[in-house]
Assembly symmetry: C2
Homo-oligomer: 229 residues x 2
């Protein structure tokens, strides 16, 4: 095998698709670029991988530097390596997607003077580089994964109503679900635990709050149980 230094090397970056959920729909965090190329356009948070950090460390570092978000659910998505995806030089990017709940995490609009903001997945601006492709891949992955892994809870606050949970699935799967069947299914799996609390400050009957029962979920999974919505 030839030694690496005989060849020019592609540069390596990470980019992160951060999803969140508001009352309306699925949101994604974008950064306004302050440098060429694509100056002034919106892009995914991300940056170069340092030689002394793993890929996930790089992703977490960039995310915190650019958006203030930390300690969130993060999972590798795909690695994009088209030759001309960055007009400056050859850059390969390892992408991640992250899920946050808006109640638990403050987003500092930015820590290094760049503008960070949430955008609805249904109303996206023009994006720099091939970030539109990346975003689409992330959305598809989320849609696929949420059906058989309980990652959806990462988008909900710690305590949530079943209606909120149903809404989450409706937004991600992009179709309506039947309220009674959804409740039957979720409660039947026993992966959420009812709390003694109810919603506050609503102008109608307050709904019961539940929380994800991870201990129970792990136990069921070990017994070959299959989470599927």
């Amino acid at each position: 095998m030839a030694h690496a230094y005989e060849f020019a090397r592609p540069a390596l970056t990470v980019d992160i698709v951060v999803f969140a959920l508001d009352e309306e729909d699925l949101q994604v965090m974008l950064i306004e670029r302050d440098l060429k190329p694509f100056e002034g356009q919106w892009a995914l948070p991300g940056g170069f991988v340092r030689v002394d950090e793993t890929l996930e460390e790089a992703a977490r570092r960039e995310l915190e530097e650019e958006t203030g978000l930390k300690d969130i659910y993060l999972e590798q998505l795909y690695t994009f390596g088209d030759i001309k995806r960055d007009p400056r030089e050859r850059v390969v990017t390892v992408t991640y997607y992250a899920l946050v709940n808006l109640e638990g995490h403050d987003v500092q609009a930015s820590t290094d003077a760049r503008n960070a903001a949430w955008f609805s997945m249904n109303d996206l601006p023009k994006l720099a580089f091939d970030h539109k492709t990346i975003l689409r891949a992330a959305h598809e992955r989320l849609r696929g994964k949420v059906r058989y892994q309980p990652i959806g809870f990462e988008l909900l606050p710690e305590k949530f109503t079943l209606r909120q949970m149903q809404h989450l699935y409706e937004v991600i799967l992009d179709r309506e679900l039947d309220k009674r069947n959804f409740r039957k299914k979720v409660l039947g799996m026993e992966i959420v635990k009812e709390t003694k609390e109810i919603e506050k400050d609503v102008a109608h009957r307050a709904a019961r709050l539940y929380r994800f029962d991870k201990r129970r979920y792990d136990k069921l999974t070990k017994q070959g149980f299959n989470f599927e919505i």
Copy 2:
């Protein structure tokens, strides 16, 4: 964003897990290393990514150089970036998995003087680097994917018996399937087309040969059909 050249760069490689199926079980292609580190140990085929080729091009090039295999099913798996995964220097590897049918492709034991060979997944040698981890990830992905995407056909010859197809799923999923239910399901989906031929040279009643009906599968998929074994 700081410019890339301010930082030392990780090197970038591709590694490929090539699966095939013999009468017994799932096989994987390995290369015997002729250089340090891990000299004499078995490893996945792979090598450095050049600056003027995409990741998939790099994977296909390395695969052909090291095993003679070309024009095969290839899909990106995961990118591994642990800091010490290569003892020489920081190397990030983008991994792929490939599926071949043994009847359609000759494997030249090697084109550049190294030894290439098939190993049963149930009887693997000690592997170089973190290739054991990569192999495990590839096996899991295959197991998951084969159930809802018809990639299994890539491991079968063009014409195959339903028994062979069932055997394929049994090996990958690692459990026995009921013959009648399997046939009912597969034939009911109408994604295989019966040919006029039958097996040859068997010491018992010869089974009918079928072929995958990709045209039909694509049509069904567009209508929202869901392939699931």
